[in-house]
Symmetry: C2
Subunit: 572 residues, 2 copies
């Protein structure tokens, strides 16, 4: 369906852009036409283009539902109409990641790759394919670890002797190899990372948030000392948090997963957790696992003990290495879009926006002389060139047959952080007009000194970046509710919050919180459309407030002493 709509989108655009169409314009509203920088409803420039504009504006194929009306439909339209994702082929597994998304992912890659190189992580590439024997060896060791995988059984028309699988994560391939590679403590630490472009999962598909194929990164490291492994787990988590906060303008809560939620086979899992205000759902943003010695025992990754031998001491047993693994995926971008986009379309934070600025010439009417028009178009391009040379990513839109209003809608839909308007009135004042995508706020910047102009545009981009984060942070904080009263839990969930409550720290109890809150939802919620999902243990935040003396676990049936505040919520 989205594909059909996308086609209509383009079809409509192609149609209205035909010059012949222009003389079929309805008349009217000439008054508003004098306002060359009107609000969204009155953008326009002169009777002729203005009317075309109105006609175009009425037909602009933007989003048809608001986020508050139907979040899922809004999200799906957002992705396709803003040119972020396209659907392809008949099955739901296949969608195309379009340039704005790939650009943002490459910014994340560049940022994170530079960070991990400072601690000696080296990139590599392990095979995508793995034989059944190796996969099953792993599956037999860690229950629940081998997720459902895709099996390749035929090559061309011939059946393969042995079917091979497309790996999900690379533990199986990597850890067998690590065992071959690590022969001495001098081979430690061994730190590897790979940037992947496939992972097969059969869960229900929501593009970027839950899907079978996506882009991601997985790091796997081996250490001689547990303390080094522990330090790395937290360092990586900090860098993941920086990816979200500094690049994506998405605030996160750092913490540790409860036992029941940690990675199978891990000693402990640290996590960053984000939050979608629109539906009050938490979303896991990235995880950094201390695997302890569980996998090194399974895969026999050992080194001789380098500590000095006491007199007469016999041979020391080999040491199992301490392992970590950590991963981040394009899900991060799905989260970013969910949080920052609005009913007009996407909003990309400047640092990951493929184009940070759209420049649109305005105020060119049928009464504008050809010479004046050319002058404005030329100057518009010069402004674009000046900004571009200063390192700002600019799209200069001097296309004819598209009205300024049409273009405004388009760049709003696509989420360019700043729109710059430039027309005869601006030229007369020697300024450009800037319009922020996130707030709609307008401003002007002098153009006389190109370098100064570029600096001011860059400063505005930086301001947008930090204000987007601050707004999102406030929004998240407003929805973190502390309680120690079990009766408050479901009402707080229903009011789209996450909850921090005293908890006993027990994994089974955390599971029961989810089960019991789900039951309460079912019995008590009056509105049959209200979600019946229970409260999942999201994390034990590193940032803890002090427990009251003798605080007990909030779940009444437990009642054991509380050991921390645990963050619970409905979750993706």
């Amino acid at each position: 369906m989205d594909q059909v709509e996308a086609q209509q989108d383009l079809a409509v655009r192609a149609k209205v852009s035909k010059p012949e169409r222009q003389d079929k314009k309805p008349k009217g509203k000439p008054a508003a036409a004098t306002d060359t920088k009107g609000t969204a409803d009155t953008k326009g420039i002169s009777p002729l283009p203005f009317v075309v504009l109105i006609s175009l504006h009425l037909h602009y194929p933007g989003l048809t539902v608001s986020r508050s009306e139907d979040l899922a439909q809004w999200y799906s339209e957002l992705l396709t109409k803003a040119g972020i994702v396209s659907y392809y082929d008949v099955q739901d597994i296949c969608y195309i990641l379009e340039p704005p998304l790939i650009f943002a992912w490459e910014e994340i890659r560049t940022f994170f790759d530079a960070k991990i190189k400072t601690i000696g992580v080296r990139n590599c590439y392990y095979p995508l394919f793995i034989t059944r024997e190796n996969l099953e060896r792993e599956a037999s060791h860690v229950e629940g670890f081998a997720a459902e995988v895709a099996w390749v059984t035929h090559g061309g028309k011939s059946k393969l002797e042995k079917p091979i699988s497309i790996r999900a994560t690379s533990e199986t391939a990597m850890y067998k190899d690590f065992s071959d590679k690590i022969k001495s403590h001098r081979d430690l630490p061994l730190k590897r990372n790979q940037w992947n472009n496939v992972r097969w999962e059969f869960s229900h598909c929501t593009p970027l948030l839950r899907s079978r194929e996506f882009l991601w990164q997985e790091g796997h490291t081996c250490h001689l000392e547990k303390s080094d492994a522990d330090a790395e787990v937290l360092q990586i988590l900090d860098w993941y948090a920086a990816v979200y906060e500094e690049l994506l303008a998405v605030p996160v809560v750092k913490g540790r997963k409860t036992e029941n939620e940690q990675f199978p086979g891990a000693l402990y899992t640290t996590t960053i957790e984000s939050f979608i205000e629109a539906n009050g759902r938490a979303i896991q943003a990235g995880t950094s696992h201390a695997l302890g010695q569980n996998f090194s025992r399974m895969y026999d990754i050992t080194v001789e003990d380098p500590s000095p031998k006491a007199d007469g001491e016999g041979p020391k047993p080999p040491l199992h290495v301490w392992q970590n693994s950590w991963g981040l995926s394009t899900r991060s971008l799905g989260t970013m879009l969910m949080i920052h986009a609005d009913d007009k379309g996407a909003i990309f934070p400047p640092r990951v926006a493929e184009f940070q600025v759209a420049i649109v010439p305005v105020g060119l009417t049928a009464r504008t002389s050809e010479a004046d028009k050319q002058k404005i178009l030329e100057e518009t391009k010069n402004i674009g060139r000046t900004l571009s040379e200063a390192g700002i990513r600019v799209q200069c839109d001097t296309r004819e047959h598209y009205s300024p209003g049409w273009k405004f809608n388009e760049y709003e839909l696509r989420g360019f952080p700043i729109r710059i308007e430039f027309g005869p009135k601006d030229a007369a004042k020697g300024v450009i007009t800037t319009v922020r995508r996130d707030t709609g706020e307008k401003g002007t910047i002098q153009i006389s000194d190109g370098k100064a102009m570029a600096s001011e545009v860059q400063a505005l981009l930086d301001k947008i970046q930090s204000e987007m984060l601050e707004r999102a942070r406030k929004m998240y904080q407003d929805h973190i509710k502390y309680t120690s009263n079990w009766d408050d839990v479901v009402p707080l969930l229903n009011a789209k919050n996450v909850i921090r409550m005293p908890h006993c720290g027990d994994g089974e109890c955390a599971e029961l919180v989810k089960k019991e809150t789900a039951e309460i939802c079912k019995t008590e919620n009056m509105d049959p459309r209200a979600p019946s999902m229970g409260a999942k243990a999201l994390c034990v935040p590193f940032d803890q407030i002090e427990l009251q003396e003798n605080a007990r676990c909030t779940r009444p049936a437990c009642g054991k002493p509380a050991v921390n505040y645990t963050q619970f919520g409905r979750s993706y």
Copy 2:
């Protein structure tokens, strides 16, 4: 077998590195020990470490065959022992691309990605999976186009309703989508590229050169005008040539494929061709195809004709867009290794070397005081830090229990462009000693001014880079032989050359050249081990010498007028 050897490699290393081993040293050769910078055979520093060194040196698990003896075995050992590739799992499809290879590939990616962005190419990601229907639709249109693909038939334990394939190239996915996206000439040009990490082929596997899984890039573009498409084809080819020549120090010949060798469905194919002196084989290095309108007809990628209508003219037929595609893969790195490596191991050109410099402290003997030793080690690290801060990629090897000689062998095997030695004698003179991997040439650089030292090291790296290219270029040129005498062809092939000869330009004739020269090889070659492969048409070089008047096609049975010099040769 290679994996076993790699394990032995590490096992030997681990064994000899045990401190206890040191007192089992044989005595002898103390004289050579005074030469702290001896030749490869006499590197050493004092009786104690010197003897250990000799013992280590004898056991150093380097390459066991020379390139001239057994090229295939040499190449295979090179890849595994130099840590470039590791084998994994039971089938020959699976090998691991190790960090030095990934680093070099990422340098290529960064270089080429920046180039294509200047012409507006945008990165994207199309699904890896494709349904049978879509694949077959394409196969029915272009004969020979749908190579054998891998079929996924099962997800977990359940059979898929419809099997899906893992795509080879992305034409099927992309061109169907392009047809949806392109609705107006204003949507042109459309330029997309993707960086891939899988491609499935069933041909016999030689890591990097012929394999089922590798890293590659594919660009696909659509243009309104044929002239724009043509210009892009050549621009991309120039950038591919720059990747080879500027980054990999591998010279290439630019040209156009003969009809019989061009991409199925292409209008014409341009190519860069490289050459492996060791076996006299040509190797295709990268291709840039003009697809013409063949695929746009097949996939119905059309736009309305934007040219002005004459009075009374009816509706114009839609225009089919002009398409290009172009690709480069990690095969480039296999070619680079084949050309530059030697019997001691790999040689990475500085621009793509993960580590450009290895710094090894030398001359520390049993008679060196602990204070002096610490001073040298400290200063060694300072030198490393200074170079690293200047942007040079340095590995500073102060590991104990490995002798300098052992380290020298290791860095030669791994192909670090420069080794820096630093010991008491260097410290006394205020210099570092540099040793070039490619020529073995030694030099010294003053250390008093850290910045000047780093500049000199950088200058040496630049010199190595350009001299590696010049040597390889001369080698290639020495093996390009012009002839118009059919009887010379097979002897020239047997002497490991490529041949340029007058040709009629006919694809069928080019096929017959291959067939007939193969037959001559079979009948006339005395040595049964001599290759019987015929001369394949590699390209029509852009760089042409003038044909003699009335020149005829060199293949006697043809005898048609010659239209160009075509490059023929045995090929990978």
